[in-house]
């Protein structure tokens, strides 16, 4: 059995009385891309900074290829590369100097790939960092991370400030990384990006991991949207098992079905169904469904 690229064990972080991360158990396997979703303040960046050893956990621990992120920080960092959402670089250095410095500190760089990345992201290496736009700084920090070919890429909103063309270039790089067997932990607010790139998705809420799985698994656990048009009167389905969010407009009924769809079909058997459409939830709907309920519910659940 291969060792997970990233693994956390009851990882928790408190800031005074605020619980930023609550007992998180997470695994990212070798060659896997895991997306991390959650609204602002859900604990995504705290998780990433704990993995990097920039924050000290209040409880639990995190490992990179079995190396403790606190005790074996330097060894763990030899196998990872990180892209922050905001690039705070040295304004007086040029792009070339920055890449050379960061490459030297990392210890190894694939120079051919570096040249390819510079070309792919249209980066002007002669400019000073202070003359770069936000998007160009982000491209620089992306190239600095990708050029190392590190075994694990930890990306915290890596495409913030990038234009759609550059975002496509980024997606291509992540796919290439996966093909080479690299692992990726991607935190993002761009749901289409996560849906397109990730093998599994972790949804955080108020510091708690509320959902973890593949898109297929998550859709299975989530509600199906059903829309039925009748030739006659619309029957009452509000008491049917698994049915919720019932809306009737003229002869059309729209509802959500959680679990088996059979009870609903049985109740509609003699109602003159003219048309029946069903649709699996998108990632956006899945995401929103996790944040529709009051935040206290999950926090209370997690405290039990």
């Amino acid at each position: 059995m291969t060792m997970p690229a990233i693994e956390t064990f009851g990882l928790a972080k408190n800031y005074g009385t605020t619980r930023a991360l609550v007992g998180l158990d997470l695994q990212v396997n070798e060659g896997e891309i895991v997306g991390c979703l959650g609204p602002n303040g859900a604990g995504k960046t705290t998780l990433i900074r704990l993995l990097l050893g920039l924050l000290i956990p209040s409880h639990g621990r995190a490992e990179i290829f079995g190396m403790d992120s606190q005790r074996d920080t330097v060894a763990a960092h030899r196998r990872l590369a990180y892209v922050p959402g905001e690039a705070n670089l040295w304004p007086t250095l040029s792009v070339a100097e920055t890449l050379r410095l960061l490459g030297r500190v990392y210890g190894k760089v694939d120079l051919t790939y570096q040249a390819e990345l510079i070309d792919r992201f249209s980066l002007d290496v002669t400019k000073r960092v202070r003359a770069l736009s936000k998007g160009n700084r982000q491209k620089l920090i992306l190239v600095a991370a990708l050029m190392t070919r590190a075994d694990v890429l930890i990306l915290d909103e890596p495409t913030s400030g990038l234009d759609p063309l550059m975002e496509q270039a980024f997606r291509l790089c992540v796919h290439e990384a996966k093909d080479r067997g690299q692992s990726v932990l991607l935190s993002s607010h761009i749901l289409s990006e996560v849906e397109a790139l990730c093998d599994r998705i972790a949804i955080l809420r108020a510091g708690v991991l509320v959902e973890m799985g593949t898109m297929v698994e998550m859709r299975h656990l989530s509600a199906l949207t059903v829309e039925v048009t009748f030739s006659g009167d619309v029957p009452d389905v509000t008491n049917v098992a698994g049915v919720s969010s019932v809306i009737v407009q003229g002869s059309t009924l729209r509802c959500q079905v959680r679990g088996p769809v059979e009870p609903l079909l049985n109740s509609l058997a003699n109602s003159g169904v003219r048309e029946l459409l069903s649709r699996e939830p998108s990632l956006e709907e899945l995401f929103l469904s996790h944040y529709g309920a009051p935040a206290d519910d999950v926090a209370n659940d997690s405290n039990k």
Binding site: I56, H77, A96, E97, L101, R104, V105, Y106, K127, I141
Partner: protein, 548 residues
């Protein structure tokens, strides 16, 4: 509840105007800093006047002082002409005016650029400028805030000067004391305007501060030339520091010299407002020629990077230390005579078995200890800034440990401090032999090394604070420095308990080359610095990395 009161304090609650936020914030910060420096200025004035009144009690001793310094061109070039130094007011003006005018100007450049360009660079103005505040209005508000800060500096300095002037020993009238405080503070007022103006010209706060320093340096150099010969005295009217001198407070007050000072402030303030409305936010009026690079030596290691980033500041300090060493050394013989002319000082040094140039140089090198302490404080602040800005993360997310980063920073700072001390010794020796003073190279070299120890102690404690309370680094280390400094200067006037005096690193440092270097005290300072720094590194390894 806390959140609501915080909002209320920052003026963000509905109903309270947000248009004057920049004025309020700038005022709050500059008033606080102005008041602190007002206390330092006031205490310096009090110390100098009281020391003179105590040390030169007889007419004979004062006459001797006038004979030696009344027409000394070297000393005149350094600290201004010695007018009426046979009186307490005349001596106080001579000892305090130029020194405090320069300190005030340095403070003003740092504050003037920090509270204008620094705030803009940090992105704090951008949120306001997309609202109801225009760029010109933002600059106007900042200027207003700075003016209030200068006023607080003036008020606090005046209060202390009037208080000390009321002492029968000093006997300076309230009106003369207030005019003197005005003269002292006028330099700060002018250079606050210079700082704000440079903030509009430059592309960053650092560049603005450098530009302001160049203007101050040119002003000081011109004043030195003007004061070096009676025939060149007219040149004083060509430099801001010369105008301050032309006010001649406490001797022959000339309020009309306030005219060019006020005009200078108005021109630079109007220039600031003019440029503020005519440039892009984040850009400078001067074109940034250096945005595109050709080839240069690249930093390829974290230590190389730290050295590269610190290089401009450290080179500027080195140049200052060297120039000041030359100047101090260049008047070693005359300085020795001042010791001889004061019966109390002569007695104090005679007890130690020294006299003349050696005695003077030991006092002069104390200034170098203060300069090197500033270098130490700057290095601690630079380390903290690298962390708070998020730049450090770029290194620490790679295979480079926190301990290695901080130890490299320590190595850089210690190297800079030791080299700075040796440079101070060499420059002072070069200056002294050019004045035909009989001083040995080896004794001045070791005296130069001697002045690094208080700076090393301050740096070590700074590293400890960085490890345990990073957000308090500047407050705690600068407070410690002020504590050391105040004890040292007040201790020479008041008969302080030796337990209190022993708490100042400057007091622990031997007055070398007049007295043998106190290696035991120096070893204790190094030991405290080492232990503090070691704890600092260990604590830094085990804490969260923190932003601002």
């Amino acid at each position: 509840m806390t959140a609501i009161s915080n909002l209320s304090r920052s003026g963000a609650l509905p109903g309270r105007s947000t248009r004057a936020v920049i004025a309020r914030v700038t005022t709050e910060k500059s008033v606080r800093a102005g008041a602190v420096w007002g206390i330092v200025f006031g205490l310096y004035i009090a110390t100098q006047s009281l020391t003179y009144a105590t040390s030169y009690k007889t007419v004979a001793s004062r006459r001797l002082l006038v004979q030696q310094f009344g027409h000394n061109a070297g000393i005149s070039a350094l600290v201004g002409p010695a007018n009426q130094i046979g009186t307490v007011p005349g001596f106080t003006a001579w000892k305090c005016l130029t020194v405090l005018a320069i300190i005030g100007a340095v403070w003003a450049i740092l504050t003037g650029t920090k509270l204008t360009r620094g705030e803009e660079d940090a992105g704090r103005w951008e949120l306001l400028l997309v609202g109801q505040v225009t760029r010109t209005s933002a600059a106007r508000q900042a200027l207003l805030g700075l003016a209030v800060g200068a006023t607080s500096l003036f008020v606090v300095t005046s209060i202390i000067t009037v208080a000390v002037g009321s002492s029968p020993k000093v006997a300076i009238s309230a009106g003369a004391a207030v005019f003197f405080a005005l003269a002292v503070v006028s330099s700060a007022l002018m250079f606050l305007a210079v700082g704000a103006f440079c903030g509009q010209l430059s592309t960053s706060r650092r560049q603005a501060a450098s530009l302001g320093s160049v203007i101050l340096g040119a002003s000081y150099a011109l004043r030195m030339v003007a004061d070096s010969s009676a025939g060149l005295a007219w040149l004083r009217w060509a430099t801001p520091l010369g105008w301050v001198e032309e006010l001649q407070p406490l001797t022959r007050p000339r309020p009309f010299a306030l005219v060019p000072i006020v005009a200078f402030v108005i021109v630079f303030a109007l220039g600031t407002l003019y440029l503020a409305g005519r440039r892009d936010l984040g850009a400078g009026t001067l074109s940034d020629r250096s945005n595109v690079l050709t080839i240069r030596r690249l930093p390829t290691t974290p230590l190389g990077l730290a050295a590269y980033l610190s290089r401009p500041v450290l080179l500027a300090w080195a140049a200052s230390v060297f120039a000041y060493g030359l100047l101090l050394g260049g008047i070693a013989k005359s300085g020795g005579k001042i010791i001889t002319s004061s019966p109390s000082l002569r007695l104090a040094f005679a007890r130690l078995g020294v006299s003349g140039a050696d005695a003077y140089l030991s006092v002069a090198l104390l200034i170098m200890a203060v300069v090197l302490s500033f270098v130490a404080l700057g290095q601690v602040s630079a380390a903290r800034k690298e962390e708070s800005s998020g730049q450090l993360e770029n290194l620490l997310v790679r295979p480079f440990s926190r301990a290695a980063w901080l130890v490299e920073r320590i190595v850089l700072a210690v190297t800079a401090l030791v080299l700075g001390g040796l440079l101070a010794g060499v420059a002072t020796w070069v200056g002294a032999i050019s004045d035909h003073a009989s001083v040995r190279f080896s004794s001045l070299l070791s005296a130069g090394l001697n002045v690094t120890f208080p700076a090393l102690l301050l740096f070590g404690v700074g590293v400890l604070v960085l490890g345990v309370a990073p957000r308090m680094v500047s407050v705690i280390t600068y407070s410690l420095f002020v504590w050391f400094f105040l004890i040292e200067i007040l201790g020479s006037v008041a008969n302080m308990n030796h337990w209190i005096l022993d708490l100042s690193a400057f007091h622990q440092m031997a007055a070398s080359p007049a007295t043998p270097i106190a290696w035991t005290a120096n070893a204790v300072m190094v030991a405290v610095a080492l232990v503090s720094a070691s704890f600092g590194v260990e604590l830094f390894r085990h804490r969260d990395l923190l932003g601002e």
